[in-house]
């Protein structure tokens, strides 16, 4: 028997206590939506999880007015230290129920339990803890005298890190004194709806957090167009981000956008090679590559290209694809059929355009949406796989000869969200980082997140920052502005 055929080690779903159906959570109550309903499924098995009621514009209207009432009567009048107590309570409750949330997220999203257990949920709690601490210190955040909350924030989050993106948006908004109407993604509403239980356990006043699942073109659109909203925070595709920006142009609604990316991961020939290999893998195969800041373009110095590719493919062969609930799974399911089709199509295009395709030789479950980790070599800068965001486990390998060429190629994209630099030469690291046009630059690591660190994009990757003090300022009016 092969040692590496590890016996199945599935995390049990018995810990979950799910309802058959979920409504909208508006003003502290569950209500039925008027936008029909849909079934949320597990992408790993295609089995239904729960029936989700969908919001239409009338529901959004109700949710916004519930948030407004709560803002005017309770939340904006509460002291920062009192708000902080609620946030601390939420953070602690999330920690207590971490395993349950990890299982729910894995079930609904398809990402491995190892990631939800070790990364998503701990970060969610960390985000609430961090902003809980800010709630009574807004005057000292260096944002000017007497910063004021904005009002009602409309928040639209993506499906790749469902609960984490909720935390990124809800925690700073609440700490700053705003109330929120949050629309989770169509394919991953589950953990946002379970988060309602946390809010209730924490005794959060009704209407401070409203959760409205719905379709983007219905509920999302209605939220963005609603005149009672003071701020829109959106994480998602650049195409939708553009629409939102157009809608809000000329209004006094504030906007932050966190959009797509085509991150360059630059490996110099003096890098710590084995650790760089790990970083390349974390960069693009973490969360099935469903990461806006993924290091999807590997820029490797030409003189070590063959060694890197050889080591990379050897290492990839040890990745385990399969049941996301198994604790030994490295690569889970693609989140949806639509996304799988998109990844499949763009990969076929890359191949047709002349790139060499390497795909991990591994079994794939019969049911569900799966895509084997794929590496394209011999990729020209004009190839589609080198330019378009794939949002899947697909790496494009390009080469460079000098640091200047690496910088030029890394910046040669309409996006500008993330980049990685691998070198043991600290002065080169700093010089290159200085010239990269990207919001987040990792050195000798990749895809590391921390609530103290601001995150956001350059160019078409969006504007505004989430995380840290910068993330707080996105929910505050300073200098007398309102």
């Amino acid at each position: 028997m092969s040692f590496r055929n590890y016996a199945p080690a599935p995390e049990s779903t018995a810990i979950l206590n799910l309802r058959k159906s979920y409504g909208l959570y508006i003003g502290g109550e569950w209500v039925d939506g008027h936008g029909g309903s849909m079934t949320t499924i597990s992408p790993a098995t295609e089995m239904p999880i729960a029936e989700i009621s969908l919001a239409d514009s009338s529901d959004i209207d109700r949710a916004v007015s519930a948030a407004r009432t709560s803002y005017d009567t309770v939340w904006s009048r509460m002291s920062g230290s009192e708000r902080g107590k609620y946030l601390f309570r939420i953070a602690r409750l999330l920690q207590e129920r971490a395993r349950e949330f990890a299982v729910a997220e894995t079930l609904d999203n398809g990402k491995p339990i190892r990631e939800t257990r070790d990364i998503d949920i701990p970060l969610v709690a960390a985000w609430f803890f961090h902003y809980a601490g800010w709630a009574d210190k807004l005057d000292y955040a260096g944002l000017g005298v007497n910063p004021r909350s904005l009002g009602v924030a409309g928040q639209i989050i993506p499906w790749n890190f469902p609960l984490l993106m909720l935390a990124w948006k809800v925690a700073p908004a609440l700490a700053a004194g705003n109330t929120v109407v949050l629309k989770p993604a169509e394919t991953t509403p589950l953990t946002a709806l379970l988060f309602v239980e946390i809010c209730e356990q924490a005794g959060l006043p009704a209407g401070v957090v409203n959760i409205v699942p719905g379709l983007g073109e219905v509920a999302g659109k209605a939220l963005v167009e609603h005149t009672g909203i003071n701020k829109i925070a959106f994480t998602g595709s650049t195409a939708v981000g553009r629409q939102i920006a157009r809608t809000l142009a000329g209004t006094d609604t504030r906007l932050t956008l966190e959009l797509g990316g085509k991150g360059a991961n630059i490996v110099f020939d003096d890098a710590a090679v084995d650790e760089a290999i790990e970083g390349i893998i974390t960069g693009i195969f973490f969360n099935q590559g469903h990461v806006c800041c993924a290091g999807s373009r590997l820029l490797v110095q030409e003189n070590i290209h063959d060694e890197i590719v050889e080591k990379l493919t050897r290492r990839l062969a040890t990745l385990r694809l399969g049941d996301p609930l198994d604790k030994n799974t490295d690569i889970g399911a693609i989140n949806s059929k639509e996304q799988l089709e998109r990844i499949t199509a763009i990969s076929a295009t890359g191949e047709a355009e002349g790139a060499h395709r390497w795909t991990l030789d591994c079994p794939v479950p019969d049911k569900g949406f799966w895509f084997r980790p794929t590496v394209f070599t011999n990729v020209s800068t004009s190839n589609t796989v080198a330019r378009d965001e794939i949002f899947g486990p697909v790496l494009s390998v390009l080469t460079f000869r000098t640091p200047d060429e690496a910088i030029a190629k890394a910046n040669n994209t309409p996006y500008g969200l993330s980049a990685g630099i691998w070198t043991q030469n600290a002065s080169r690291m700093l010089r290159v980082a200085d010239q990269l046009r990207a919001g987040v630059i990792w050195a000798n690591t990749f895809n590391q997140f921390d609530p103290t660190s601001p995150f956001g994009g350059f160019k078409e990757s969006g504007f505004g920052r989430e995380g840290g003090r910068h993330g707080l300022s996105a929910y505050l009016a300073t200098g007398g502005a309102r």
Binding site: M1, S2, F3, R4, N5, Y6, A7, P8, A9, R114, D118, D270, A271, A272, V273, D274, E275, A276, E278, G279, E310, T318, K327, N328, Q424, N444, T445
Partner: protein, 395 residues
């Protein structure tokens, strides 16, 4: 005049003859005896042990001292390492190790969940890979005999428990281990190997002559494996030549008259080398110099074996295999006391170097208390409940 005894006269004669280079005639005159009597006294001095004469055949070690540079080996020459300069260039030209990245990799390997059949198989595998060790000043023949019995029959209540790979003892205890094993001595698979630490273990602070003698003695006593320590002082001061040449010399000292050779494990004492870069350099250096195994620690210095260090050494032997097709063994030693830790090491072996390394010829655990914990876990998997320390033998 009182009569002087022959013993006293023999001592005086020996002093004059050997220390002052007097002739037998001169000694006769000085002591008032005949030169024939002086000759007899000198013979008596040799026979009675007043004088001991040793003949050192230094032909094999002569080159160790003679060379200004390194004793290039077949392996090192194949990689362009022929002298001091190329040795230094080679080990300092290795890609650096990023400590944070390496530790993250090890931590991630440690999250693998090994359950049920996989765990059962892993526990048996761990036993087969153990170098059951006693390296104490208080070691005695009785202690070693007891260790050997444990190695042969780890769990008296369950004869299906496999044997360990080897016992590991000090050189003067080797003969007791050999005697206790009898015909059951082997190479870790065919029978139980007898490993002996040598080269002024654990500090390695002695002369090369002493280290060579230590090694030869252990081999002559019947050791099938030698666990040598490198000269960490020389390594840290940048004297790579000395470290390299010592390994070459000890490997030669492992040779037996019949042309066979005791296997050589090279201990770095990673707790003293401290940095991952140092450990990586030492690993390559030891392989180039002729190591069959690279080993983390003596167990006498903290930290001893750690998972990140072992992952790093596994990466080196994997790279050496890719380069040459030759597999070098790895032995973490010291501090691995629990089954769950040992299972993490197995995961690292399988995922970093490859499953081929999960074999007594290529991977060993240097451990003593680990065996009993594995046996307890094994009993638990058989009976469904935990027993307790009284259900495994104390040896």
């Amino acid at each position: 005049m009182t009569e002087t005894s022959d013993d006293v006269l023999a001592l005086r004669a020996a002093r004059l003859y050997y220390d002052e280079s007097k002739t037998q005639d001169e000694i006769g005159d000085l002591l008032g005896i005949t030169r024939w009597k002086a000759g007899r006294l000198l013979a008596l001095a040799r026979d009675s042990g007043i004088v001991s004469i040793s003949i050192v055949d230094s032909t094999s070690e002569a080159d160790v001292h003679a060379v200004d540079g390194i004793l290039a080996t077949e392996r090192s020459r194949a990689h362009g390492v022929t002298d001091s300069t190329s040795l230094r260039a080679f080990v300092h030209g290795l890609p650096a190790v990023d400590a944070i990245g390496l530790e993250e990799r090890a931590a991630r390997l440690a999250t693998r969940s090994i359950k049920n059949d996989s765990k059962r198989a892993a526990l048996d595998t761990i036993i087969r890979l153990i170098d059951l060790t006693t390296l104490e000043g208080a070691d005695t023949e009785g202690k070693v005999r007891s260790l050997v019995q444990k190695a042969l029959l780890p769990d008296p209540a369950d004869p299906t428990a496999p044997r360990v790979a080897a016992v590991c003892v000090y050189p003067d205890m080797v003969r007791h281990a050999i005697a206790a094993l009898g015909t059951r001595v082997g190479d870790g698979v065919t029978g139980i190997a007898v490993a002996s630490v040598a080269t002024a273990f654990p500090s390695g602070r002695s002369t090369l002559e002493v280290k060579i003698a230590d090694t030869r003695y252990a081999v002559a006593q019947g050791a099938t494996e030698i666990d040598m320590v490198i000269d960490r002082g020389a390594f840290l001061s940048g004297d790579l030549d000395t470290v390299f040449n010592e390994i070459v010399a000890i490997r030669r000292a492992c040779e037996r008259a019949d042309g066979t050779r005791a296997h050589l494990k090279v201990i770095f004492e990673t707790g003293e080398l401290r940095t991952y870069d140092n450990i990586k350099r030492a690993s390559w250096l030891a392989i180039l110099a002729g190591a069959d195994f690279i080993k983390t620690s003596t167990g006498k210095v903290q930290p001893a074996a750690t998972l990140p260090v072992t992952v790093l050494m596994l990466e080196v032997v994997r790279d050496w295999f890719v380069l040459t097709g030759e597999r070098i063994g790895v032995k973490p030693a010291g501090g691995i006391r629990q089954s769950k830790d040992a299972i993490r090491y197995l995961v690292a072996v399988a995922e970093v170097a490859g499953e081929e390394w999960i074999h007594p010829h290529l991977f060993r655990f240097g451990a003593s208390s680990l065996l009993n914990d594995v046996l307890l876990q094994r009993q638990k998997m058989t009976t469904g409940h935990y027993s307790g320390p009284d259900y495994v033998t104390v040896d």
